[in-house]
């Protein structure tokens, strides 16, 4: 896998996340290699917090910094495409018109890697997630579980400095869920980046997370 860029801790200070009438204030920090589980009942703004971290939802106060660089707040604003923050959404949101391997290579291509290199990197990730034989299938032909694994590979292959996982295992078959979870845990350890995991699953918090923050 390609070398990750300089990494560092995620620091969120008094971040005011607002979507419509809803508002939540978050204060958290995640060290490289740490996985923070974000839990709490539905409607407490977990996904909105992830959107703010990814740069898809501007803050209404406070600040977000990653590895010392301010991403949002203090009159600074880094757009999502320059944050290096990977997102694995709840519904996989794969690009249906591209093949599985093209999806995984997307982030590498977007940052200017040559097509051939990006593809071979993509193949390596798919192999790791047990999808080598699906590499050339159009993404809209994959099963739900396969799609979710490709979405994981797509986010991790782009060598993010921070990864956000929004219930990434919920759509997976029970039989493969543990395997994929273990693979993700390995990959996160290897990348040594901070990760935020939204989940409803107590077992997942137990096995994957190093800390838990409950929103209410």
């Amino acid at each position: 896998m390609s070398g990750a860029t300089a990494t560092g801790a995620l620091e969120v200070r008094d971040a005011v996340v607002r979507r419509g009438d809803f508002e939540v204030t978050v204060d958290l920090s995640v060290a490289p290699g740490e996985v923070l589980a974000l839990t709490g009942p539905n409607g407490t703004g977990k996904s909105s917090v992830l959107a703010a971290l990814a740069g898809l939802l501007p803050l209404h106060g406070g600040a977000i910094a990653l590895g010392g660089e301010v991403l949002d707040g203090d009159a600074a604003w880094v757009p999502p495409e320059r944050r290096g923050v990977g997102l694995v959404p709840q519904q996989h949101l794969l690009f249906g018109h591209l093949s599985a391997v093209e999806n995984v290579a997307f982030g590498l291509r977007a940052r200017g890697m040559r097509r051939r290199d990006a593809r071979s990197e993509g193949h390596a990730w798919l192999e790791r997630l047990g999808l080598a034989d699906r590499a050339h299938l159009r993404a809209d032909r994959l099963s739900g579980g396969q799609s979710q694994r490709v979405a994981l590979a797509r986010a991790l292959a782009a060598s993010p400095r921070l990864v956000l996982l929004d219930e990434p295992f919920a759509a997976l078959d029970v039989r493969v869920r543990d395997d994929v979870r273990a693979l993700v845990a390995d990959a996160l350890r290897e990348l040594a980046i901070p990760a935020v995991l939204v989940t409803h699953d107590a077992g997942e918090v137990e096995t994957l997370a190093t800390r838990e923050l409950s929103l209410r």
């Binding site: 990814a54 898809l56 495409e81 944050r83 949101l93 249906g96 997307f106 982030g107 986010a155 782009a158």
Partner: protein
Amino acid sequence: MSDGQAGRRPGQSAHAARPPLVLLVPGLAALVFLALPLVALLVRAPWSELVEIVATGPVAQALWLSLRTATTATLVSLVLGVPLAWLLARGRLPGGGVIRALVTLPMVLPPVVGGVALLSLLGRRGLLGEHLDAWFGLTIPFTTTAVVLAQTFVSLPFLVLSVDGALRGLDRRYEDVSATLGASRWTTFRRVTLPMIAPAVGAGAVLCFARALGEFGATITFAGNFPGTTRTMPIAIYLAMEQSPQAAIALSIVLVAISALVLILLRSRWLTALGSTT
């Protein structure tokens, strides 16, 4: 847009599906009214001489000119119309509603008015045409360029509205994910947005081509009627009607054939476009 998979709603009985007579009779009358003229055209067509008539110099010339100009107008509409649709759907333009109405205007405007408007702008005495003539010696009216401009003026809105609708129906989260993967707005547009709205772009282009091919009013006003340079098929048909109705019918059959082809293209692409955006 309901589809076959939606199934019957609980309140819908077999009885409700049988149309009442007050709707059935005028409905069928409308259908007959639409179909019968075309049937007459097919019956009256001089089938044995069709090839001969179409192959004559002037007709082949008009047909070739029409295909060339309508294709060019469609390409111009694609290059200009897709970006305009993006601006309408995503640009957060101030007064977006007014701009959208302005874009729609050529669709409801009588084409001849469009021709007069184009003359007012680009005619030798026109707002812009005056300067084009004085500074560059450029005269646009009554040239093949004028034909393309007239066709583009009336057909561009079809493309813009088709693409605008698709863009507004598109799930924005795909573009969000693309951004988190490091893709610039242009890369996202090129590799995610455009492929996802491709069916709507195709449908819009087909509609655009059909409208450009049939253009008459704006063309004859702004571009005139010169064989080889501005006499398109619809104008040739109108002229033929005065001398030889048989020839006019033969030419019409050619346009009916092209329109039928367009319809087949449209059915296969437009329906998929609607299916993917609603």
